[in-house]
């Protein structure tokens, strides 16, 4: 009895000493894993920056199979992690369930919309960013042929592809574009050997710039581009530094900012739910220019890309969204 009282007192003391807004953030990554140097790693970087800025540690978990998604979310929620960030559209159905099971826990999901009263959904207008790198790719190509390697064949990735094709055609109407998808299961995000082979096959057919939207698989695409002395285009995180001189640019998708913002708003008590859409205007997508690719991007190309960015922001160019109607006007 004595001990129980003591324990209660300690708990109360602990409760007082902790700051009211202290949170226990959790992150669950997608199958590509947190070291994909792309999508998941972007989230990880954002979370690390949050931890460094605030001193609040976060827990994270990499699922190995699809069946672990529900488990991972439930375990995090049960252990009191809050908010919990689910990375990737493939969490949508799992989160739908778990968010209902734990109505007091705050959840966020990147790349999909989950309509629950305790979920924030963050989606990006990737087609806008892809359009801009499409313009750059078309201007950098000497053969008039481009390539695209997508990870899993899903509408989200077709949205990248469609924006890219539209951008390339915008800069050069006659350009030819080869498209390959790696697969139709989650394993498609994690197969760099296949990614490299797809890229080589596209180079053999005459492409000289290839854009990938394929997570870890894309590392193989960029490697193949570097091996063949061609150009690759990175995705999600800035991948220019991976092969300096062989990565034309990277289409940035600021999942790091999104992750930081999810945790920060929970910490400050400004948490909101609902769908948040991030495009060029909001700084959610963009293209990367740094010391690793400045030799590859001429001032003319830079100007054209910036012009496209400005036109899209103003609404003069409306990039078609594949997800909206399941078609791409360029096909």
């Amino acid at each position: 009895m004595k001990y129980q009282n003591l324990a209660a007192i300690i708990l109360i003391l602990a409760g007082c000493s902790a700051h009211a807004a202290d949170i226990r953030p959790g992150v669950v990554y997608d199958l590509g894993g947190k070291f994909d140097k792309s999508f998941n790693e972007g989230v990880w970087n954002g979370a690390k920056r949050f931890a460094a800025d605030t001193g609040i540690e976060f827990r994270d978990f990499e699922v190995q199979t699809d069946s672990q998604r529900v488990q991972a979310l439930r375990t995090f929620a049960r252990r009191g992690y809050d908010p919990i960030l689910a990375v990737g559209f493939q969490y949508a159905s799992a989160l739908e369930r778990i968010a209902a099971e734990f109505p007091e826990t705050r959840f966020a999901i990147i790349d999909s919309e989950v309509h629950q009263p305790n979920v924030r959904s963050i989606v990006f207008r990737e087609h806008e960013g892809a359009f801009v790198v499409g313009v750059l790719a078309a201007m950098a190509s000497r053969t008039g042929k481009l390539g695209f390697v997508g990870g899993m064949d899903v509408p989200l990735i077709r949205r990248f592809a469609c924006g890219y094709v539209l951008g390339a055609r915008h800069a050069s109407p006659d350009i030819e574009i080869f498209q390959n998808m790696v697969g139709t299961t989650g394993a498609a995000w994690n197969d760099p050997v296949k990614g490299a082979e797809l890229a080589r096959s596209q180079f053999d057919r005459g492409a000289d710039v290839i854009f990938h939207a394929a997570g870890t698989t894309g590392l193989g695409v960029l490697q193949a581009a570097a091996d063949a002395d061609m150009l690759g285009i990175g995705v999600d995180s800035n991948q220019n530094h991976l092969h300096p001189g062989s990565v034309l640019t990277s289409m940035l998708k600021r999942v790091d900012v999104a992750a930081y913002e999810v945790f920060e708003s929970a910490r400050q008590g400004t948490w909101t739910v609902g769908v948040r859409e991030l495009g060029l205007k909001e700084g959610g997508v963009g293209w990367a220019l740094d010391e690793f690719n400045e030799g590859l991007v001429s001032s003319e190309m830079e100007a054209a890309a910036e012009r496209a960015v400005a036109d899209i922001k103003r609404g003069d160019i409306r990039v078609h969204d594949y997800v909206a109607d399941g078609t791409c006007p360029a096909d």
Binding site: E62, F178, N180, G183, P192, L198, S201, D204, L219, D227
Partner: protein
């Protein structure tokens, strides 16, 4: 000309994709012709790829990496041998155990040593086997047909691809024209006869497994040091099993097994090429269909076009000395 170029591109891709399959199938050939079932091709290849990735990353040398790959693969082969030659264990169980062990162990060690999510660090070009351009490829480029075939198809592969093409006749020669090959085949058919002739059955089988280990080591190094720039978790992705299927498909003979591997590689290459292409009357081919194609054709070919396979008679049977 357009069609020729497309064909050359597909064949070029076929060579790259079939190389690890051929090496693994030849490895399986040594082991199975000696009477040891080799489900563990996958595990040996993966272990070799891991060793190659680690050692090449640390030493910065592709050749040291290759040596490590062969050493790792031979060790695993000897483990298989210890379980099912010395202790007469079940060969399928032992092989599967190796596959499962290696799949888990490599990912675990890679995380523990390099903390990159089960990858080894990305290798610089100096620590890899890069493609080699043959002399005169650019001069011949202008010549029709010959230029394309020489420049695209023959030239521009890495050293392991060329080694593989030497390995096929070498293995055939060793199997059919040497004393070792004769004993190997005999041990797989009738080990009692070999024993009666005063030759150690275990010794021949162990030697066969070492040969298999060396070849799997080459295949693993090809994956980690040539096709990619480092080891990746489960990077063999079932190639060991496909190689085993090709071996059976090829009736446990080197040249037919090689042809079967080329067929599998070619189907894979065609499926890459067909993606997004429009076929007359069908429209754009769905990705799912294209990716199912190699497997569908494999089933059709295996079911319809291959005669009854004749396996080595003593395969899977542990040898126990009589008396």
């Amino acid at each position: 000309m357009e069609i020729l170029l497309a064909a050359v591109v597909v064949l070029d891709s076929t060579l790259r994709l079939a190389t690890p399959l051929i090496l693994a199938a030849l490895a399986g050939l040594f082991s199975e012709r000696s009477g040891i079932i080799d489900i563990g091709l996958e595990g040996k290849m993966l272990g070799a790829a891991f060793a190659a990735g680690c050692v090449a990353a640390v030493t910065g040398s592709a050749w040291v990496g290759l040596t490590a790959a062969i050493a790792a693969s031979v060790l695993l082969a000897l483990l298989h041998g210890y379980a099912c030659i010395t202790h007469r264990g079940n060969q399928v169980v032992s092989g599967l155990a190796i596959n499962i062990l290696v799949s888990g162990l490599t990912a675990f060690l890679a995380v523990a040593w390099f903390a990159q999510g089960g990858r080894t660090p990305q290798l610089p070009d100096s620590a890899r086997f890069l493609s080699m351009e043959w002399p005169g490829a650019d001069v011949l480029d202008a010549v029709p047909i010959v230029g394309v075939v020489y420049g695209e198809l023959l030239s521009g592969h890495n050293v392991i691809v060329y080694l593989t093409w030497l390995a096929v006749p070498a293995v055939a020669l060793a199997l059919y024209r040497t004393r070792f090959g004769l004993r190997l085949r005999a041990v797989g058919e009738n080990p009692f006869a070999v024993d009666t002739a005063g030759v150690s059955v275990s010794g021949v089988r162990y030697r066969a497994l070492v040969c298999a280990g060396v070849l799997c080591g080459l295949a693993g190094a090809y994956l980690a040091l040539a096709q990619s720039a480092g080891f990746l978790r489960d990077m063999t992705a079932g190639k060991g099993y496909i190689a085993l299927a090709a071996l059976i498909f090829g009736n446990w003979r080197p040249v037919p097994a090689m042809l079967a591997c080329l067929l599998f590689g070619c189907l894979d290459a065609v499926s890459i090429r067909l993606q997004g292409a429009s076929l007359p009357g069908l429209g754009e081919v769905p990705v799912q269909l294209v990716q199912a194609l190699p497997y569908v054709l494999t089933v059709v070919l295996l079911a319809g076009f291959v005669g009854r396979g004749v396996a080595p008679k003593a395969i899977g049977v542990p040898y126990t000395k009589e008396g």
